[in-house]
């Protein structure tokens, strides 16, 4: 299927099989911040924004993407830089594999609810699994980011 996708405010034409998921399409286009973890809608590693809603790209068929705005971490450089510094300063960047997906959720949370409480942060990030940190350092890092940074 030939499709025109809007990714990080750029139009990109792709030719994909009918059952290709957005995760595969994005990685084939070089958007390597989007990662494959469980591939069964559980871990949150593949989180991207579809029209500003956090979405699991491993289960989002690419054929549904035309007409929607797709955003990856590559398109959020300024926020990503600040958030990465906050996470690093709190020791929340251990193996780092889950970090990019979690950052997509945290940046979305800031836009939706910049004054989120700790409980609201936990609730919003519950779909992003991490096997290293125990989540406390991530909570501190995201809290710091919501409060404006370092």
């Amino acid at each position: 299927m030939e499709l025109v996708l809007k990714i990080n405010n750029k139009n990109v034409t792709v030719n994909v099989p009918a059952d290709e998921m957005l995760l595969t399409t994005l990685r084939n286009l070089g958007y390597y911040s989007v990662r494959c973890g469980c591939d069964t809608t559980n871990c949150g590693l593949c989180t991207v924004w579809v029209d500003d809603e956090i979405t699991l790209s491993c289960a989002y068929p690419t054929f549904r993407a035309p007409g929607h705005t797709i955003t990856t971490l590559e398109g959020l450089e300024e926020d990503a830089t600040l958030l990465a510094d906050c996470l690093a300063s709190e020791g929340a960047d251990q193996c780092g594999f889950c970090t990019t997906g979690m950052m997509m959720s945290a940046i979305a949370l800031k836009r939706r609810n910049p004054n989120a409480s700790d409980d609201e942060i936990r609730e919003y990030l519950i779909g992003n699994l991490c096997r290293c940190t125990g989540y406390e350092s991530q909570l501190r890092g995201v809290r710091k980011y919501l409060q404006g940074g370092l």
Partner: protein, 260 residues
């Protein structure tokens, strides 16, 4: 994985129905979250995203939820956050994470009639109706036994506040529940629904009748009857005996919650 060779993209519900009749093995692709857990390659799927069924609104003293509205759409719809103690939204918020709920659709969640559904007990308790293309409007309880090939169009919930309580028991947050339940207390009495037995949610008829007749004085007896009149079985999440014991405790808690 979600594998298919061809995607059929109807633009109307009528067209989707005709495609479903013509392509009997083709699954209807709503959110796709559960289809993804299968291993089969489908010759074709019917994409439901072009049918303009993604809406949540208030209309004629009812809440109307289109089949393609996501769980997230419903969760964020303010009037439902407080309706009947927020029962429907509370049922949804237990389901995995925000990303998942932004994809999983209400129609897909209801039409699948999963035994482990968090949403169906809540919809039963608020007396939701289901509207299908061919079968028309029917109660949620009727829909649970409806077996015709059809297209679920929308869910309609009467905007009528009554005491409702829901509960889902799980081993850990984010897991499937091993027992779900809901209760409604209106001027006709109590209605107790128990799901994830692991079968789909059902009305505990005898327990509900006893509680309606004798009130809280019969609470323990009603809880015992509820655990005996429905079929409980074991699966990987809980044994039959554990489910039966927990059903008693759950019924007692639900009744106390609506009584407050």
């Amino acid at each position: 994985m979600l594998a298919f060779l061809k995607v059929l993209q109807p633009k109307t519900v009528e067209e989707a129905y005709e495609l479903a009749i013509k392509n009997k093995t083709a699954p209807m692709l709503a959110g796709g979250c559960w289809l993804r857990l299968g291993r089969r390659t489908w010759p074709a799927v019917i994409d439901m995203s072009g049918l303009n069924l993604r809406y949540v609104r208030e209309e004629d003293n009812e809440f109307v939820i289109g089949a393609m509205a996501t769980q997230g759409d419903v969760e964020r719809f303010e009037p439902l956050q407080t309706f009947c103690g927020g029962a429907v939204v509370r049922g949804i918020k237990e389901i995995l994470g925000v990303q998942f709920r932004n994809m999983a659709t209400m129609g897909g969640s209801v039409a699948s009639k999963f035994g482990f559904s968090d949403i169906i007990p809540a919809l039963l308790a608020v007396h939701a109706d289901i509207v299908t293309y061919k079968g028309g409007r029917m109660s949620m309880q009727e829909y649970m036994n409806y077996r015709e090939k059809d297209i679920l169009v929308e869910i309609r919930i009467p905007n009528h506040e009554v005491p409702v309580a829901i509960e889902a028991l799980r081993i850990s947050r984010g897991d499937f529940p091993y027992l779900t339940g809901s209760i409604r207390h209106d001027d006709t009495g109590y209605k107790i629904y128990i799901g994830t037995r692991p079968g789909a949610p059902q009305l505990a008829v005898k327990a509900s009748a006893l509680l309606s007749e004798k009130g809280l004085a019969a609470l323990d007896e009603a809880a015992q009857i509820a655990s005996e009149e429905l079929v409980f079985q074991k699966n990987s999440h809980a044994s039959k005996e554990y489910r039966m014991e927990m059903a008693k405790a759950m019924v007692r808690r639900l009744v106390k919650e609506v009584a407050q």
